[in-house]
Symmetry: C2
Subunit: 340 residues, 2 copies
């Protein structure tokens, strides 16, 4: 993988020829894919326009990848897992894309997710495509842009799209809305730490993977896996699961033990969902969700212009000092936006 | 308190004379207050316009109540607490308003909060004003309307405004954004149930009240209170707290034991915050927050017209069936709204 995967500033210039770009993406050209993702991440209105047309052209082919969401807090070994799991898929003849969704990347000034130096072998494979999380220039848009990047990877013919996130804010929910399967990666821990996992994430997970099940940590991993298997049994049965799912498994990203078995389980679950209508139904629900999000974000984007930001800051001061009520200040701003 | 506190359909007619309404509210006329709250809850554009002007007129007087947020799950005795605590405040010569914030009231077809029949004595007091949660006719607006109802109660000269909620969704956050103090009411429980309280709420609470500290439950209440006191000590110290706060106390709404002591603590905390600048700073931050919310809600309100709702439903179907991409459907809807 070359530096050309993310051509810096490439979209500062003219809008690319969309028909040509679509053809090249459908041909699986990585540079075209990278270019298109940069276009998706742009805040410019003409880029947005072009993106919409591009996605429409690509959607006609209706190509589907297996989209796997992967969450885990720092330290559980996400990068090592993606490296090992990705290499295993590539050895099986599959093409693998890795995207990162990191709503915190503005604050940290750059994402640690999707860092290619942490996926040394995978990042050199011609059948792998790794893209870090975009930096957030616009509020609330990270989800939409990531979702559209996933759609581009699907059009480019990747068999598996891994979407990596950390448990920050609503990031797991956002990732689950663009995934077919959702994996939660955990490290071995004492049983009393089980409560540290948010209930909402437990309910989202299709497969819990207890990583680092090797060497000294093997006994702890075995206990942790049993604890989570027990916790999963307490959750309400979901219609989209066959018997035995969601499940907890042990893996070792370092020794690669358990990765094949985990992949078998993922495929089994995906097949069952396809055969029982859950796959297509969920994809439909997700499309509805993103339609609603697109509309809401577009309306709220009017607050992101320099004029709106400046006026909001001024009015906020007046409101905080009690010189004007929130309602009157809102009316003032909205009139300035031509919405009043 | 008479049925006139919530004149049904009163705002279906003409917009009332706002100057006259403001004068009557400032004179403490309960019917005027009830009328104004109904106006605040209305979704009509001309009512919104009138509300903004009314709030502006009233804000010039800069009257402040002690606004106390109160959260607790069903069964902890919230209504009994409000009845006993409210009667105690009234016996001390204070005027008390009770408002309810219930984001779930659409689904349940009416709020169980602020139910006057559960506050039998308080609801008959001339110095008390009780108003149930508005039913949600508009998405996302329940917070703003409640916040403005609080401002109306302040203008009407109530000394204390109690804002009651249950722990549904974001309701505690919404209530804390309109409160000076935040109380969490709990029932006695086994120590292992402590984890059932969401961490976010613990961090929001200024005073935790363990209710039902009477009779057979007294020992359990004592243990529960000690458990929560211990848990509060583990939380990070907040700048807005003097030594010893946040704290956990035992009360019995039934026997009224501990209510006077709890009220003393609330006043002490409020005084300290006033003297140390935290009170005014927090009020300023809250005003900023509501200004931002007002603006966002006004922008999103464009999706609530019958036309927008119908068009969104149609496009959602097409999106779910894969006949159009979310981005293209969003563009279509936004063009129809004149936003594109």
């Amino acid at each position: 993988m070359s530096a050309a995967d993310k051509p810096k500033g490439a979209t500062r210039g003219a809008v690319p020829d969309i028909d040509d770009l679509a053809t090249r993406i459908l041909n699986g050209e990585r540079r075209a894919l990278a270019r298109a993702i940069t276009l998706v991440e742009s805040g410019r209105a003409d880029h947005r326009e072009a993106t919409t047309r591009l996605l429409d052209l690509l959607a006609r082919e209706n190509r589907q990848s297996l989209r796997i969401g992967l969450s885990g807090t720092p330290g559980v070994g996400k990068s090592t897992f993606i490296e090992s799991f990705g290499m295993m898929l590539i050895a099986a003849g599959l093409r693998v894309a890795v995207l990162a969704v990191d709503p915190s990347s503005t604050r940290s000034g750059g994402s640690i997710l999707g860092d290619k130096t942490r996926m040394e072998h995978l990042s050199r494979e011609k059948n792998a495509f790794i893209r870090p999380s975009p930096s957030q220039t616009h509020l609330g848009g990270v989800g939409r842009r990531s979702r559209e990047a996933v759609a581009l990877c699907e059009a480019a013919g990747f068999d598996v799209v891994l979407i990596e996130t950390v448990g920050v804010g609503q990031s797991e929910t956002v990732v689950s809305e663009m995934s077919d399967l959702f994996l939660l990666l955990l490290a071995p821990a004492g049983g009393d730490e089980l409560q540290g996992v948010k209930r909402g994430i437990m309910e989202m997970a299709d497969i819990i993977l207890v990583n680092k099940a090797d060497g000294d940590l093997k006994p702890a991993a075995t206990r942790t896996c049993a604890d989570y298997a027990g916790a999963l049994r307490l959750l309400r049965k979901r219609p989209q699961d066959p018997d035995g799912y969601p499940k907890a498994l042990m893996v070792s990203a370092a020794t690669r033990d358990g990765l094949e078995a985990a992949w078998d389980d993922m495929q089994m679950l995906a097949d069952w969902r396809r055969e029982n209508g859950h796959w297509q139904r969920r994809r439909g629900e997700q499309a509805r969700y993103w339609f609603g999000e697109d509309v809401r974000q577009a309306l709220l984007a009017r607050l992101e212009t320099p004029w709106a930001q400046g006026r909001m800051a001024d009015l906020s001061e007046e409101v905080a000092e009690g010189r004007v009520t929130p309602a009157a200040a809102a009316k003032d701003l909205l009139a300035g936006l031509g919405v009043g």
